[in-house]
Symmetry: C2
Subunit: 337 residues, 2 copies
Amino acid sequence: MNEPRKLEVLRAIVEDYVHYREPVGSKALVERHRLGVSSATIRNDMAALEDEGLIVAPHTSAGRVPTDKGYRVFVDQLAAVRPLSSAEKHAIQSLLEGADDLDDVLERTVRLLSHLTNQVAVVQYPQLGRARVRHVEAVGLAPRQVLLVLIADSGTVEQRVVTLGEDLDHDRLAVLRQSFLAATAGKPVSQVGANVAATMDSLLPEDRPVAAELAAGLAALAAASREERIVTAGTAYLARSNSDFLLSISPVLEALEEQVVLLRLLSEMASDARGVAVAIGHETAADSLAETSVVATGYGRDDAKIGILGPTRMDYPATMAAVRAVARYLSKILAGS
Amino acid sequence: MNEPRKLEVLRAIVEDYVHYREPVGSKALVERHRLGVSSATIRNDMAALEDEGLIVAPHTSAGRVPTDKGYRVFVDQLAAVRPLSSAEKHAIQSLLEGADDLDDVLERTVRLLSHLTNQVAVVQYPQLGRARVRHVEAVGLAPRQVLLVLIADSGTVEQRVVTLGEDLDHDRLAVLRQSFLAATAGKPVSQVGANVAATMDSLLPEDRPVAAELAAGLAALAAASREERIVTAGTAYLARSNSDFLLSISPVLEALEEQVVLLRLLSEMASDARGVAVAIGHETAADSLAETSVVATGYGRDDAKIGILGPTRMDYPATMAAVRAVARYLSKILAGS
DNA sequence: CTTAGCACTCTCTCTACCCAAGTGCTAGAT
DNA sequence: ATCTAGCACTTGGGTAGAGAGAGTGCTAAG
């Protein structure tokens, strides 16, 4: 048995199946690829590939279709990430440069990635777990209303208005603000609650009740800001590509809305040497995504994830290239601002 | 011709079609409803209804299906908004009470409405067009970095960090902040740009360049905050209900993502005497929503919209009841905070 | 190890056919 | 004037069978 050719056959099957969207047989294979051998030989190779669990035949007299495992081998051993065209690079650059806000940047990015791949794109907000507090602000709006603002060095800003049980004048608020700021600035967002609570003892006794209210608000803010979020774009592509078996799109839409499953999955994905992570079909370990593959990578300083979701039968090289390129531009933009 | 009975037949057709999801014939009609006449009579009525364009037959030997116009007559003349069960009311109340943030309230609300109706729910952020400025804040983060915050009386908060071309110490910033606040507080968000620009003359000449930078940031903030947004939930229901003809779900998903079409539509919908607005099929005046109906109503002080999207073949009475009830609870919650 | 040939197995498509559901119309009953 | 009963007619959907096409596995020879 000719091992290199066998892999070549696998590659050809994957590429043809992605392209034509139907099971591919031995005859079609020799016609479309210069394999240099006859269809009978290919049949032997295919039988071997099937024994190894890399391809399956939907029924006796149909061609073969790659299994999740087959795609895995293809991605790991056979796929070269193909670089983007310069037109695409140009589009990325010009689209991302017009953005200002973090929200705006992520929104544009995810739309861009979706259009580039014709698939569903997702981007995770920079995780505040590792982020540090850049600034804490408390602004009196009314005698009993204070706006709390928490700014992290990842660029995210969280704010909330809290209503107090007693009046608080400007000077007292200034003292508390200063104390909170000193206790948290430069320290991890995840420790805001503890750090703020620790300042209580140093305050005037009469300030403590109101300070506790503010501290609680600030802690809630830190907790809320650590809550992970995902922004999505291109869900309409789901309905188009999977036009045949649309049963599977409902669970995917659910997963996108629930976010929890997806966040766990993204956080578990580790990029390989090429800088991209791929989870294929059942590898996602989520029933709702059993027929879906996820191609993702990290971006920015805290390695938040960006990626796309699509059918297992997707163009992995192109998708991987797009994800990697967009992630790089995104990192650059975020570092620059 | 018996006019009241004819309308009764229309009601029966709509109800049966919504229930059984297939064209309804004269015989089935007399079996399922106590109309007191024979199927032949019903056939005459149906022929009349078809002449009026209220129902159509997909083909010669099938039953009849309501047209958009038929649904319109049903909704206007025949549908009584049926009140929610006390269990549903209870669910609404308890779910909404746990929320704090405006974001959180809207998020919970839209999910709730989606679950209640098994359809896609949308809620528009309170429109800042009519909102007034409650507070403006400018916080120095670094010598050349200032956090601008704009708070509207609708509860929305917008913020952004701007980087300046020159250093700005705390005292000068305080002066500028005070001046901006005085110029905008209590006035419409839509006029922030103009009001801020008008303060320039009263400032010290050396402050003007940096003040202009801040003013531009503030104006941008006001503009951004006036940008309308929609939050969505329950897109997975789309794939389930329309399981037959899923061609139509892709454009709907697009409309949900684009938002522009939907925002225009929502703003044009005016609630009727029952407090709910309904746009049926082509009435939405959007190709992508030609097979979709929208049931919406206003909430809160500035009449932002909340509603659901679903197939024209939907249970209008139940949906209208759910939308109205949820909108009322939402208004109550927002007024209370 | 590869190739050619061949028998075999399925799926898919097409046709023919019938059945059930539904309609419109006419003539009679109320 | 309406309603009803009956009936002929239309049509989509379902079933059964034939055939084509595609693809496979196996065997025997190069």
